[in-house]
């Protein structure tokens, strides 16, 4: 091979390597972009509203004459939906994972898993429709006096939505537990229930907990289903049958209305989004930490 051909080959390789690196590094620009955009307007917002008011005021009324900027009603709305969804999805998802990993035949699993994937792939706006036209009417029959828009309906539908997250991540963790552990327990005379709950689940606990945290974080970030089903009334309450507003629903409703750039209403969008971003980021980091810190390594 001539020297120049070799030189141009090295040059080409170098250019390709640089382009590929640029594409990978661009992902960090996205994060920086998100942080900068949120930070800029949030800082302007906190120049006018004190952080203490934001965190302690119990009313969220940015559009009224007498403005209140307490994020608590929105935060409690998001948490209520997330807790309700978790109560449904964590046990159901974990038991689904145990069934798929420990009990079902491989043929049955091959039939069931695609259904869970479809469930995970259904757009959230469809879940919103389902909550409003199917779940809410049932709730209103069972509990007369339930608001048309209510937290319970949103919780149920978000719970269904995150079942696949819990089930599939937990199942991966359960299946990663080596068979020798199961066989050892069976050899000591344990039943399948005892093997599943006292050997396999504890061995896979880091993965299971990580899946729980991720699923709850998804529930907090969920937008359309809660906007449609839970309503748009910032309401500090513990009653799930009342209309509430989550952080995500506020962002949608405020951006649907007229919010010109530079106004305080526009800045609330970013302040709330920043709160949401920090909460979900913390939960995602926590779930990765649980995975790496408490992982049981099996060879």
């Amino acid at each position: 091979m001539s020297l120049t051909a070799k030189g141009s080959r090295t040059l080409r390789e170098g250019v390709i390597g640089a382009v590929l690196f640029a594409c990978a590094a661009a992902s960090t620009l996205v994060t920086i972009g998100v942080v900068l955009v949120l930070l800029r307007e949030t800082l302007t917002f906190f120049a006018e509203v004190s952080l203490v008011d934001f965190l302690t005021d119990t009313r969220w009324e940015p559009m009224f004459q007498d403005q209140h900027f307490g994020v608590m009603p929105l935060l409690s709305g998001s948490l209520m939906v997330a807790v309700g969804a978790g109560v449904i999805a964590l046990p159901v998802g974990l038991m689904t994972a145990i069934f798929l990993s420990e009990y079902s035949s491989s043929r049955l699993r091959r039939a069931l898993k695609p259904m869970l994937e479809v469930l995970a792939g259904i757009p959230t706006v469809v879940y919103g429709y389902f909550a409003l036209t199917f779940i809410t009417p049932i709730l209103r029959i069972v509990f007369p006096g339930t608001d048309i828009f209510n937290a319970a309906s949103a919780s149920i539908v978000v719970g269904v939505m995150i079942i696949p997250t819990v089930a599939s991540l937990s199942e991966d963790a359960l299946r990663a537990v080596p068979d020798s552990l199961r066989e050892g327990a069976y050899g000591l005379g344990a039943t399948k229930l005892e093997v599943s709950t006292t050997v396999v689940v504890p061995a896979a606990l880091s993965g299971i907990i990580a899946s729980f945290i991720l699923a709850i974080s998804r529930a907090i970030g969920e937008t359309m289903a809660v906007t449609i089903a839970a309503g748009n009334l910032a309401n500090l309450t513990l009653n799930p049958l009342e209309s509430i507003q989550t952080m995500t629903a506020y962002i949608v409703s405020a951006s649907l209305g007229d919010t010109p750039q530079g106004t305080i209403a526009y800045q609330t969008l970013f302040a709330v989004a920043m709160t949401l971003f920090l909460i979900t980021l913390a939960m995602n980091v926590l779930s990765q930490w649980v995975l790496s810190r408490f992982r049981e390594e099996y060879q």
């Binding site: 390597g17 661009a26 998100v34 689904t96 269904v160 005892e194 979900t280 990765q288």
Partner: protein, 294 residues
């Protein structure tokens, strides 16, 4: 007295209780699995009952209207297809390039680890936050206004982490012996990637891309943020045109209290699910073909 019965004398009360407890637990787990499946079935039946009577060719070929009997999804369907195509064109090459870098080129070090962690975290950022980014960056700062291209760029940012991670997995599954053989014949790193690794990883990469794109097609919230509208009487003809998409059209119909609009929403959902189902079917065919080729 022994807790275990001697052979042939039947079981003790203790064993019997354990056996029954095991049975009950097995049934409970089976029932839990059915919750997801049943929810899916009820949801689909509910939508089909509400929407099928309203679904016909005129529905696909009419614009939104104040009169429910004349309304259709023409603008929304066209908008969704525009968004699908543009998002694919923008996100696919960058994501695959990033995945190739991380799997085949990246040196082991803190930079690579930071990029990898960052991508995993981006995948967990709520979609509405991407909407805020799109609003501030594309719509306002870059002056792209409420256009198809703003929407497609925003959704590209949203799904790129998903495509990157799926592509990495597909590339990792290519056996190392293939690379070593090609290097042994004197191929450069790029030649190995271009002619050996990528062709073998492609079915997995495409499956991951299609699944990510179907997520983009179902997204509503980020597009509300970048200003897609629920009521539009034309289809986009260029990158800077206003647009609407199926999920947004459905949302705007759901928001109306009249039953006729609820029916329209259900019919729109059927169209959206049919589009997603087609995309998923393509992904499954690709996956099966890849598995047969091995």
């Amino acid at each position: 007295m022994s807790v275990h019965a001697p052979l042939g004398t039947g079981e003790t009360a203790f064993d019997r209780r354990r056996r029954i407890k095991g049975k009950v637990f097995a049934w409970m787990c089976g029932a839990a699995t059915l919750v997801g499946v049943a929810a899916l079935a009820i949801l689909l039946v509910d939508v089909l009952i509400d929407g099928l009577p309203r679904l016909d060719l005129a529905f696909l070929n009419s614009f939104a209207s104040r009169f429910p009997e004349r309304a259709g999804v023409k603008a929304a369907l066209a908008g969704s297809i525009w968004i699908l195509g543009l998002t694919a064109v923008i996100s696919f090459p960058i994501s695959v390039a990033a995945a190739i870098y991380l799997e085949e080129y990246a040196p082991k070090g803190w930079i690579t680890k930071a990029i990898q962690t960052n991508i995993a975290n981006l995948a967990g950022v709520p979609s509405i936050v991407y909407g805020i980014l799109g609003l501030a960056l594309f719509v306002r700062a870059l002056g792209l206004e409420r256009s198809v291209i703003s929407g497609a760029l925003t959704l590209s940012l949203l799904i790129m982490p998903v495509i990157i991670m799926a592509s990495q997995e597909a590339i990792r599954a290519v056996p190392g012996t293939i690379r070593e053989a090609a290097y042994g014949l004197g191929a450069t790193r790029w030649q190995v990637v271009r002619h050996q690794v990528l062709p073998m990883a492609m079915p997995g990469v495409l499956t991951g891309t299609i699944l990510a794109l179907s997520r983009a097609v179902g997204e509503t919230a980020p597009l509300i943020m970048v200003g897609a509208v629920g009521f539009l009487a034309f289809t986009p003809s260029g990158l800077t045109d206003q647009f609407t998409v199926l999920p947004l059209q459905i949302y705007s119909w759901i928001s109306r209290p009249q039953d006729e609009f609820r029916q329209l929403a259900a019919a729109g959902i059927i169209v959206l699910l049919a589009l997603l189902l087609t995309m998923n079917a393509v992904a499954i065919i690709l996956r099966n073909r890849a598995q047969m080729g091995r």
